[in-house]
Homo-oligomer: 454 residues x 2
């Protein structure tokens, strides 16, 4: 075993011994240093990312700033320090426990956010904040952006704390490597399943957090449709076509009463959408096949050649064809027309796990039961809004039951994302000098702790 | 699909719709009602358990009281309500999130704690407290105790909230059932691995928390050995033979300098241990084979026919034979004699994941590096004590890296055990009346919440 991946994994394991014991204050400094360096190199990074992804300079500038905010959010979290859930019980024996970093983590960057969900993205930020070392497997859709941002991170942190590998085989070798203790992935269901299988075949299992996308259903209730149909059509059009539809929270399914005017309005807007290049030729190919697949089962209402597409299907057709529940990554959506609210509930009950579900409801719409059904299927319920746009705040949940993710208990956005890369450790009757600062009797860090159950 | 398991699983899924929305106050009442009923039926329960397990009335009375305390600890936790980790951000959009119950859970009771880790045990208590419904697969070692305690629970909670099944095939059917959303197990590594494989083969993966035991190494540093050798030998003897050695935290490995006096002292005590019946004939058979396996590699220093056993081996032999790292469930332990502290560290580094590790160290012993090594291998580090005896307090961690458990991030004892059966859900821009009470703007439950990051 002397492959490049093996060397990088061993270096990450060596660096972990030190990095896992660095203070929150120091981790915060280094996360802020990464953000500062990304900003300093911002112009070049955005230019490179735009050359590779065609996402446009304004969007990429926004993404860079989101990425840096994310790094600083985790910096603030670890500087404050209470996130470790420190607990002390002066019981018959003295027991103290807290979250500790799990070990070196492999992160698989996504194609559609070359900054915020790729090399310098939320997974990398939360792994480093947890006290783990990280090896990112760069996405082939933006290799130069990955190398450029990877260089910025590597220069800001101690040797071995950050590593970067390229290529499918290197990714698989990484996931199988005995020194790797957890895996985070954002991408397709096929890619996520392949990693789930690779992890399950390890002699020693490790946690895998794969975010595999979903169709993010939008339910429009009768009164909302009547009073705000045109407005909702405009909002949905914007959400479906944002970033050429290349978002994991893209609304690929709209469920409503039969409403020809609403469909017409939406179709008009979709048909008028200018065509834009997708992230990679293979994503564009997959999108074209997806559209063809939908066209065999649903009625085509609008199609821009190589661009935005709108379909309709009745509820029975939708319920009979699982294919209509599969994500088509791109600016396409299917309106499922229902003849009753009971039918709408049936569609909701038939759905697989989703990252999000949206309800449009106005005064007089009864959505209590629908909300109860959807709450069990999703990571986030949106009211009278649109699923695209994931706020980076402590309360955010970007996750959801399988197959939206491989492990529906966690989130990959928001401060709780750090918990994925930790495990609980307890110390019993341990001399104060040997305890982590977080658990010392005098609370030298001044963090929030639970002492004797309070 | 009309098997008895299928009916019970469907009933659990139906009951979940209501139970998952019951208030913390009501859940607390019912958990307390279960405890009260177990106590009311205590005499009969303890008698039945003693007939089936031979563990003795005093131990079983203690276990019943521990079980009832556990139920009341979770009652208090959900009555207070802050455990849900409610967060509210009044951001560009309004985001609120909290832990929600995951769904019906299958629990596999252990043989060695017919009450505290079986039908009315910690897993059942934490599953119900989380708002999940539970189906327990009874352990064949104490079927009447399982039925008796199961009846007490079933009579205290609404129909479908608790179910009980028997038999290996029923257990496998349960784990494969589409309505089951998580599995908790306490038992052997073979049993745990079988469930891991069954869960991995499901079309839809679900979390599995298998606690599979470990050898719980005890490291005795030179000064401690010199000054307290006899005392430590007495403490270890008590810990190794407690409950006929049938504890998952039983110390099966002792690592120390070569110290003939200490070994002699321990051997004398082990040889004088009265023989007691084990839980089942098959556990006794497995213990006998385990002893024979150890005898082929290590030197036998004491052996009571069918009872307590002591072996010694030098560090090199230990490091060369993985068999010596395998758990022998029963009152047996192996002393690994080291010729230097570096050798002791080598033994520590070679260990697999463990529930616990213990360090005996006195003034002048340097255990900093040993502690760092062990901390990465275990769920709980014990200083100058013995690993048996798991305090039921909020800070307790009863878990540890694989193969001690299937998922080393969590604990099956202490209040954090409830988190295993939950997942995060967020609500965006949701009308106050449709939000769970925990997230309503006015905080009607008066729980601790994080609002706007504070």
């Amino acid at each position: 075993m002397t492959s490049p991946v093996d060397s990088i994994a061993r270096a990450a394991a060596n660096a972990f011994a030190t990095w896992s014991r660095v203070s929150g204050k120091r981790k915060g400094e280094l996360l802020r240093a990464i953000a500062a360096r990304l900003e300093a190199d911002g112009e070049e990074i955005v230019r490179t990312a735009n050359e590779e992804t065609s996402l446009g300079v304004p969007r990429l500038q926004g993404e860079l700033s989101r990425t840096c905010n994310q790094l600083r959010m985790f910096a603030a979290l670890v500087e404050e320090g209470s996130w470790v859930d420190a607990r002390i019980d002066h019981a018959k024996v003295d027991i103290r426990s807290m979250r500790r970093p799990i070990g070196p983590v492999a992160v698989f960057g996504a194609s559609n956010f070359p900054l915020a969900f790729s090399v310098p993205g939320g997974d990398t930020a939360s792994v480093l904040a947890a006290g783990c070392t990280v090896i990112v497997k760069a996405h082939p859709a933006h290799p130069r952006t990955s190398a450029r941002t990877g260089k910025a991170i590597a220069e800001a942190v101690p040797k071995g704390v950050f590593g970067l590998v390229e290529g499918f085989d290197a990714g698989i070798e990484l996931v199988r490597h005995p020194q790797i203790r957890a895996v985070a992935f954002t991408g397709s269901r096929r890619g996520g399943r392949a990693l789930m299988d690779a992890v399950a075949a390890r002699p020693e299992p490790i946690p895998l957090f794969a975010e595999m996308g979903s169709i993010n259903p939008v339910f429009i209730l009768p009164r909302a449709l009547q009073t705000r149909g045109a407005e909702i059509a405009a909002g949905l059009h914007a959400s479906v076509t944002l970033g050429v539809g290349q978002f994991c929270t893209n609304p690929g399914l709209i469920v409503a009463d039969k409403a020809p005017e609403f469909v017409e309005e939406l179709a008009k807007k979709m048909a008028a959408t200018p065509c834009a290049p997708m992230l990679t030729p293979s994503i564009a190919d997959a999108y074209r096949s997806g559209i063809e697949r939908l066209a065999t089962l649903a009625s085509r209402r609008a199609l821009v050649s190589g661009g935005a597409a709108l379909f309709t299907a009745d509820a029975r057709t939708f319920l009979e064809h699982e294919t209509l529940m599969e994500e088509v990554f791109g600016p396409s959506t299917v309106v499922v027309e229902c003849d009753s609210q009971e039918r709408m509930l049936e569609v909701a009950r038939a759905l697989e796990g989703q990252l999000t579900a949206t309800i449009h409801a106005d005064e007089g719409d009864d959505c209590a039961e629908l909300l109860r059904v959807l709450e069990r299927k999703v990571g986030r319920v949106v009211f009278n809004g649109y699923p695209t746009g994931v706020e980076v705040v402590p309360s955010m949940v970007h996750g959801g039951p399988y197959p939206a993710t491989s492990d529906g208990r966690s989130t990959s956005v928001g401060t709780r994302a750090i918990e994925r890369f930790t495990r609980l450790v307890a110390w019993q009757n341990t001399p104060d000098t040997l305890l982590p600062d977080e658990l010392k009797e005098s609370n030298p860090l001044g963090i929030r702790r639970m002492v004797d159950g309070k």
